[in-house]
Symmetry: C2
Subunit: 344 residues, 2 copies
Amino acid sequence: MRDGVPGFATLRDVARHAGVSLATADRVVNRRGGASARSTARVEAAVAALDFRPDPRAADLSRKRLTRLGLVVPRGENPFFSDIAREARCAAADLGGRRVLVEVVETDIFSPRALALELVALGERMEGLAVVGFDHPLVAEAVDALEAKGVAVVTLVSDVPRSARRRYIGIDNRAAGRVAGSLVGRFLGRGGGRVGVLVASLGLTDHLERLAGFRDTIAGRFPAVEIADVLEGRDERGVTRAKVSALLAGGAIDAIYNAGAANAGVADALGEAGAATIFVGHELTQETRPLILSGVMDAAIVQSAGHEARSALRLLLAELTGAAVVEDQERIRIEILMADNLPG
Amino acid sequence: MRDGVPGFATLRDVARHAGVSLATADRVVNRRGGASARSTARVEAAVAALDFRPDPRAADLSRKRLTRLGLVVPRGENPFFSDIAREARCAAADLGGRRVLVEVVETDIFSPRALALELVALGERMEGLAVVGFDHPLVAEAVDALEAKGVAVVTLVSDVPRSARRRYIGIDNRAAGRVAGSLVGRFLGRGGGRVGVLVASLGLTDHLERLAGFRDTIAGRFPAVEIADVLEGRDERGVTRAKVSALLAGGAIDAIYNAGAANAGVADALGEAGAATIFVGHELTQETRPLILSGVMDAAIVQSAGHEARSALRLLLAELTGAAVVEDQERIRIEILMADNLPG
DNA sequence: CTGTTAGCGCCTTCAG
DNA sequence: CTGAAGGCGCTAACAG
């Protein structure tokens, strides 16, 4: 703080205070290198003394290089990822304003090799990448290679845990699974029952963790509930429908927890069977909205596609420019939606 | 779009295209008045032709006048409002960067006259005000007077419906009440039971609407549930405790829905009585966190104080500067929290 | 009513 | 290694 009451210290003030030029002050503040130890020390002292915080707006404005960001989402019928892609496109417009170019790339996420190749290729022309991950050594290796050559990588929705990604943006999937467990447990009531669980693939970190959380809660708090089976539906409607139908045919099922995306497939199977089964799933999309409203789905555990897309871009940009991050704003929340609190 | 591939049109381009000066282009774009019909038309045509969008960063940077914003929250023991105040203070730092001064004012919200006077007084030295409302003609009148003299007013958390406020920032309280009704109904199970409801005051729009939503759902979907009584606790721990204790003493109560804030008071009363009562309330605060974790509260319906504070400031600023608004980002969500998805 | 002229705070060549 | 100078896109005096 200084003279002008409501004014902050500017880089110019820092430079003056340190007895160096604007350019030198900039060099040390932004760690561009090429400043003597003496200058560095003096500038750092000035920064501390004046409590200097760079103004991100001015920085943006004057930066001439444009930043290319990529968003890699799975190809397929999953409507949640269409939402993410759409939101990312419109977020791109005002987050970085101009000088930021966002490209959304769809790829076959279930093939680790294809995903890894795509990532490396994208790294050639992007400075930052947000990736819906798949937990596989090839993918982790690609991420590490990108980071090694200076491309900022964040994972979105599904993490690649053993990799050098800067950060994971998405919900705590284990907690989401626990919530699902609680809901199913409480909805079933004292009597308990048999529940079927669905995932897309056991290679997806997010689905696996949901499953683990679900198991924890059921085992720990609802002894009368039994997990009948865990099915892999690849997030495809047809596959899912067939597997759920088979499960229902095989014996009384009182609840379904779909940790994956193919809710329409579950609804198909439940509709055919005509049973009054509790059904808890994930995400609010064109597909699930009517299911929740009509009561076919009793509850949905939801993450906001818009929030995630904006967070991903904001955080990539922050990584690249050193801008400040408001952690509270970036925490992706787990929302529980029922017919009563469906937005819009 | 024009020549330079990834460049947007600037005001300078617009001016050139319209054959006027920068200043004139600025005048019509920002409706500052004092431009001939001819110039206005030409500039507007240019804006459309070039798809010009002003760069908010540049605008901020060059704006010299600093904006004073006020946030009016109720004085009292309500920890949620302390959170809002805290979040507002730190949001102020980076949202407007410098050139924005945010002042948080605590006032006695239960006295419409005092609140109205305070508002009018604040209007003398602020250009924008975010107010936790109280639905009373005096308050509405004060808001109208402020708007009439050009002060932008938004309501936060609790609306002042029949007033000229620009907008209400907060959850859909009717929906929140319905959610509470569903949770209580489902947690009670088939057998149903008797439930006591609490509000701070029937003059608070938000509490009233929660009550209405709660009633809707109980009446419509849970015929076995009976609302035993509606208590006014002024959001004070002692008052609430006493009233709940009296209610519990008066006959079997299977659930409490606290639409207000004094959850500690409810917990006190439940603790004394030692009954296994379902308890659903609102907000995640220092006070409710342990109650949720320990299972005293079965669920909390939550709104994010940080999100609301940031939204309020962002929207006031947008009103004042004409900046664009991302509606999806400003929608305040209703979160359902249970022990399993408590963040942090 | 209109245009010219300085900046806002920072980044970025380009000479020293 | 260092500094001077010229923008980025917009706002706001100030002259016409």
